[in-house]
């Protein structure tokens, strides 16, 4: 059990190798078994992680830590992994979604199945590694490791315009990654200058104190990388293309987990590393997030392609996550992390559902559907449930994250939050309009009349998501309890120096963080 995180992280990579090597027929089974084993191995993390452990942001606050094992000693680069409550939940989201995606892909991927499954598992290692890495260089390696399989999943198994979409995804992400690499390496240098030894550990780098201007530049480098990943308006345009061209499994993982790497990156790296810059840029980022919420929703509203609609809805939802992060208070940031999980579940489920009807009709045009409630009632029920999760109906998971994020950010950025909160209207508009055109109305198209309803396999892979959608709405406390102390500790780091600064500048402290 000493190396549980390493086992969970690299098990998929082993499975990936096995998939690449195994014959076509057995690759699916190998992939599924690997993904399920990984999930099983990750479950103890929930029980082993103890949120009650107190203390400042230090090694103790990360748990199940392995390392540091020296790697590139000259630069202080090590292999160090560990989780806080935030990473814990995202790791579990990843290990839970991967088997779902693998089962869903068995009917949608028909060529080079072994390679597809291999890339999918390789991607899982990349994602898990990015969440558990406590060494910035190790994080960067995992971060880049995600890029390659995703590029191939879109480029080889995607739709007609897949090369363009893959290229676009590649360029956007690469630009961001390189900027981040620059910033990471710069931090190494600054750390060496100030503390006299080389280290790549994120906790060591937290101790670097930088002049405001330098912080601003380095924050910008990280922020661009993460903002592209989120994606934030206006660097979101790779996302709709990537989603529309990607196979169903690729879309689910992309929306479900990959985007969260962006918001997770902000919370783990950009914000605590550069607190002054974070606060200085807060209004700008909150503003862009709010614009993204409304913009994503409005553009989603006018899409004719249901997959593109869901893609743009991600831009809107991730705006809420960003708004919550930059609330700088425990309500907002907890809501934001919660919303990351929600978006993984509800948007993941939406892409799966789009995949279900695409496999039957080979079209994603909304106008090709209508009246499905009559022919495929089970599908329609699930779509309605997920829709209401997505638009934040109280009682389901989406509400908890959305309400906490917006509540939190209202204190910090009232104007941006008012703009962003209008998303509760526009979200209902585009989702319910889509539902009305797909599910309700008369059943006119012959192919829709003959459409078979959800199969047992489809119900099987959707069920875990649906259960969580309800459970996380009715009983959010266990999830919030896991993350809250971690959120508080990161906030102490993000807000501490800024509070000092504010006190120095103003003799009478006003309001401030609670």
């Amino acid at each position: 059990m000493d190396h549980l995180l390493t086992i969970v992280t690299f098990l998929p990579l082993l499975g990936a190798v096995a998939c690449f090597l195994s014959p076509e027929g057995t690759a699916k089974a190998v992939a599924l078994v690997t993904a399920l084993l990984t999930f099983a191995a990750s479950i103890p993390l929930w029980f082993l992680y103890d949120p009650a452990a107190k203390g400042p942001l230090s090694w103790e606050t990360f748990q199940l830590v392995e390392g540091p094992y020296p790697w590139i000693e000259d630069l202080g680069i090590t292999y160090t992994v560990g989780i806080d409550g935030i990473a814990l939940l995202l790791v579990l989201l990843t290990t839970m979604l991967t088997p779902v995606v693998i089962v869903a892909s068995t009917s949608s991927v028909h060529k080079k199945v072994g390679q597809y499954m291999g890339f999918m598992l390789m991607l899982e290692t990349g994602m898990l590694g990015s969440f558990v890495a406590l060494d910035t260089f190790l994080f960067y390696v995992f971060w880049e490791l995600m890029l390659i399989p995703m590029y191939f999943i879109i480029g080889l198994w995607g739709g007609p315009n897949r090369i363009y979409a893959a290229m676009k995804f590649f360029i956007f992400t690469l630009v961001g990654s390189l900027l981040m690499l620059v910033a990471i390496l710069s931090m190494f240098v600054f750390h060496h200058q100030q503390l006299g030894f080389w280290s790549a550990s994120v906790l060591d780098l937290y101790n670097v104190a930088l002049p405001y201007r330098t912080e601003l530049w380095l924050f910008a480098a990280f922020a661009v990388a993460f903002a592209i990943k989120v994606p934030m308006f206006p660097v979101h345009t790779w996302l709709p293309d990537a989603h529309v061209q990607a196979p169903t499994g690729g879309s689910v993982i992309l929306a479900g987990v990959l985007l969260k790497l962006g918001t997770f990156g902000f919370l783990r790296y950009a914000m605590p590393l550069f607190p002054q810059a974070t606060h200085a840029m807060g209004p700008l980022i909150a503003g862009l997030a709010a614009v993204g919420i409304v913009y994503g929703a409005l553009v989603a509203m006018v899409q004719d392609d249901v997959k593109k609609l869901v893609a743009y809805s991600s831009v809107s939802h991730m705006g809420v996550v960003m708004l919550g992060l930059f609330a700088f208070n425990v309500e907002g940031v907890s809501g934001s992390v919660y919303q990351m999980l929600n978006h993984g579940l509800s948007t993941g489920a939406l892409f799966l559902l789009v995949g279900v009807i695409y496999e039957r009709r080979h079209t994603r045009l909304i106008s090709e559907y209508g009246g499905l409630a009559t022919s495929v009632p089970k599908f329609s029920f699930v779509l309605l449930l997920v829709t209401f999760s997505s638009i934040g109906l109280p009682g389901l998971n989406g509400f908890i994250g959305e309400a906490l994020s917006l509540l939190g950010s209202f204190d910090t950025h009232p104007v941006a939050t008012v703009v962003g909160t209008s998303g509760v209207i526009f979200g209902a508009v585009y989702m319910l309009w889509m539902v009305q055109r797909v599910v309700f109305g008369p059943l006119t198209i012959q192919a829709n009349k003959e459409m078979p309803d959800l199969t047992l396999r489809e119900v099987g892979y959707l069920a875990p998501l649906l259960v969580l959608i309800v459970l996380m709405g009715v009983a959010p406390t266990p999830f919030l309890a896991k993350m809250e102390p971690s959120v508080e500790r990161v906030l102490v780091k993000i807000n501490a120096e800024v509070d000092l600064l504010a006190e120095r500048q103003q003799p009478t402290p006003v309001g401030g963080a609670r």
């Binding site: 191939f152 390496l185 913009y295 509203m301 309500e331 109280p394 209202f410 209008s422 509760v424 609670r514």
Partner: protein, 683 residues
């Protein structure tokens, strides 16, 4: 009563909804309806027990409270799944479950169309789910749980309006209702955020704690009349305009009539739409601190009452008349709570639940008997064919027009008098000196006369005169603006006892509901002001004064209103019973064309919203945001970069995958080199 039993009140209908959903098609109309009715009846029994417990304690027992579990706990947000039953809650619980149970029973008879046989289970599951959500709304001990119910009833309304989803118009009506409500919710949420942060360290979402905090430290929200509390009150009221269909968000309610008629009775007349008034009553201590907001509420209420009444005058669809009448009556309730007469406003919620549910169910019986015909021009003379339905409808008619002695008379009159007598300072919309109360009374009295006219018109056109009926329409469609010429089909007949029994009970309540709260000038020990005394502790933290007028005017003003009402009834009688032949001509002579057409076309409000809001937003989204910002601005830049990238990879090799990885590695190396260079220079 053990407070733990409170949890069972919403649990029964939730259980019913789940059970019916699990049985789905295996549950016939009678089985599904039976389960649903039974569950709501159990809730009703517990609700009456709750009411009796509180009532019999004579104020010794302030409220019952039961906490189920911790729901959300993060930072200052500490919210439980917990129920609170104070006198206000208890009365509302009884109305919701009592009227709810009657409507469930009625629905078992109503939903007998063979075309719906496969889906009646859905109807009853939704209906039970609605009662569950409505109970959360009224019993939740905090803002967030109330909001769960608030949106939950919206969900059920959406599902039930679109129950016949194969009809695209109906599905659209459901969507319109949900989205319009979301506009209100947006306002509500902002108000809630403001309130939460205003409290600082005392932040709470619990109603009881909030009341304690605000009574002790009104300065937290800026004190009495402060800007902050006014803004909060107005934003929360914004939420109420959505749910309770007031100007400017009333447009969804008339369309909501697309749902089956029992749904209109339960959700869109008796219960859900009164949520806004309930919310304001629940937060009376907060609203009372904001006189400007109170002025806005009273004014919006009065104007909505008048505006909706003007539309109801000319509608020919029986359900549309009732829908606008509901909007209008809700306006009265807002007028009541707006002037600070919380008990009077809430009293009207109760009596209106009786007579409006009855009117809708009666209309449903007529529609059922006429095989989905909703056009009053094709009715007439039904009293002789449907004696029980007709008789009960006449009782409801008397109640809604405020005929002396009926429940509606007492509640409406109390609102009107307290409006007239309200201290102008407590609704200081146009300053404390402006005689806003008197002005609002005039609007209210005129609306009362108009109500008497259009309701008499409805009753006369439907039940009196000669039967003008053709046969019914089987499409369940509600819009028949052009007259179809066809002969007589089925003869309308009285509905089954399953349907008329609830009508009879509601008729008794509509008639005798006034006993709940007899006015001070009828002295009966234990009945005079009973509701007022019972609710007193709830509104104690919101003291209001009603000495803005000489109390000797009370009875003369009532007499004046009564005279106006009787005159209206007479005019309606003259036009629709005495002289029905020259209906059209009379109308032309009496009313200017523009007024008539304006009323008939609902003053083109839908068209206005369509042209000024919906169309421009869609157009800008499609033509500017998507086509220009996304495709041209952002992607234009990126595609340029992509082309350059492709050039480079063409130079270094073919477009095979290995080429990309090489490019990738190369760029990576180049980037690193740049950094090293940067460090070397920067030192």
């Amino acid at each position: 009563m053990n407070p733990a039993l409170l949890g069972l009140v919403p649990a029964f209908p939730l259980f019913g909804a789940i059970l019916i959903a699990l049985l789905n098609r295996k549950a016939s109309r009678v089985v599904a309806g039976g389960i649903a009715t039974l569950m709501v009846s159990m809730s009703a029994a517990l609700s009456f027990w709750t009411l009796a417990t509180l009532w019999s304690s004579h104020g010794a027992l302030e409220s019952l409270h039961h906490r189920l579990y911790e729901w959300i706990s993060v930072g200052g947000v500490q919210v439980d799944i917990a129920f609170l039953a104070d006198p206000l809650t208890a009365v509302m619980m009884c109305v919701v479950t009592g009227v709810g149970a009657l409507i469930h029973l009625y629905s078992v008879g109503y939903m007998d169309d063979p075309a719906d046989a496969q889906s009646t289970w859905r109807f009853f599951a939704y209906l039970n789910l609605f009662v569950f959500a409505m109970l959360l709304l009224i019993m939740g001990d905090n803002f967030l749980l109330m909001f769960v119910g608030w949106e939950g009833v919206g969900l059920c309304s959406y599902l039930l309006i679109g129950f016949w989803y194969k009809n695209t118009d109906f599905a659209k009506a459901g969507k319109k209702a949900f989205i319009t409500n979301r506009v209100g919710d947006f306002s509500f949420l902002i108000g809630l955020f403001m309130l939460f942060w205003a409290l600082g360290d005392q932040a709470t979402l619990s109603f009881v704690e909030l009341k304690g905090t605000l009574v002790a430290q009104p300065e937290l929200v800026g004190g009495h009349g402060g800007t902050l509390v006014t803004a909060i009150a107005l934003l929360l009221f914004g939420g109420a305009t959505g749910k309770s269909a007031q100007i400017p968000l009333f447009v969804w309610l008339p369309d909501a009539m697309a749902g089956p008629t029992p749904v209109s009775a339960l959700i869109h007349a008796a219960t859900m739409v009164t949520s806004g008034i309930y919310m304001i009553s629940r937060l009376s201590f907060l609203f009372a601190m904001a006189p400007v907001a109170m002025g806005v509420i009273a004014t919006v209420g009065a104007l909505t009452a008048l505006f909706a009444a003007t539309i109801a005058m000319t509608q020919t669809d029986i359900k549309k008349v009732l829908a606008y009448s509901t909007v209008s009556q809700l306006g009265y309730m807002f007028l009541g709570v707006g002037v600070g007469a919380f008990t009077a406003g809430f009293f009207h919620v109760v009596t209106h639940a009786f007579f409006k549910a009855l009117l809708f169910l009666g209309a449903g019986a007529v529609i059922h008997a006429m095989h989905h015909e909703q056009d009053m021009r094709k009715m007439g003379g039904l009293l002789s064919k449907m004696k029980i339905t007709g008789g009960t409808m006449l009782v409801a008619w008397l109640a809604i027009i405020g005929f002396p002695g009926t429940s509606g008379f007492f509640s409406k009159d109390e609102i009107l008098w307290l409006t007239f007598a309200a201290d102008p300072a407590q609704l200081a919309l146009f300053g404390p000196e402006f005689p806003l109360p008197k002005l609002l009374w005039i609007i209210g009295a005129i609306t009362a006369a108009m109500t008497a006219f259009y309701m008499s018109r409805l009753v006369f056109m439907t039940f009196f005169g000669a039967h003008r009926g053709g046969h019914g329409h089987d499409d369940g469609h509600g819009h028949h603006d052009d007259a179809h010429g066809h002969g007589h089909g089925h003869t309308p007949h009285e509905v089954s006892p399953l349907m008329w029994a609830p009508l009879a009970v509601l008729a008794l309540l509509s008639l005798g509901g006034g006993l709940l709260n007899l006015p001070h000038w009828i002295h009966v020990e234990g009945l005079t002001g009973a509701l007022h005394h019972f609710l007193e502790p709830v509104f104690a933290a919101a003291p209001m004064s009603f000495d803005g007028a000489d109390s000797s005017l009370e009875l003369p003003l009532m007499g004046l209103t009564l005279l106006m009402i009787l005159t209206s009834v007479f005019i309606a009688w003259y036009l629709y019973v005495r002289n029905p032949g020259d209906l059209v001509q009379t109308k032309d002579e009496l009313v200017p064309d523009l007024l008539y057409r304006g009323s008939l076309h609902k003053w083109w409000v839908d068209e206005l919203y369509e042209a000024t809001l919906i169309k421009p937003i869609v157009l800008v989204s499609r033509q500017v945001l998507w086509a220009v910002v996304d495709a041209e601005l952002v992607d234009g830049a990126v595609n340029g970069a992509a082309k350059a990238m492709r050039r480079i990879s063409e130079v270094y090799g073919e477009l095979a995958q290995t080429g990309r990885v090489q490019t990738y590695a190369m760029v990576l190396a180049a980037g690193t080199a740049v950094i090293v260079f940067a460090f070397a220079v920067g030192g």
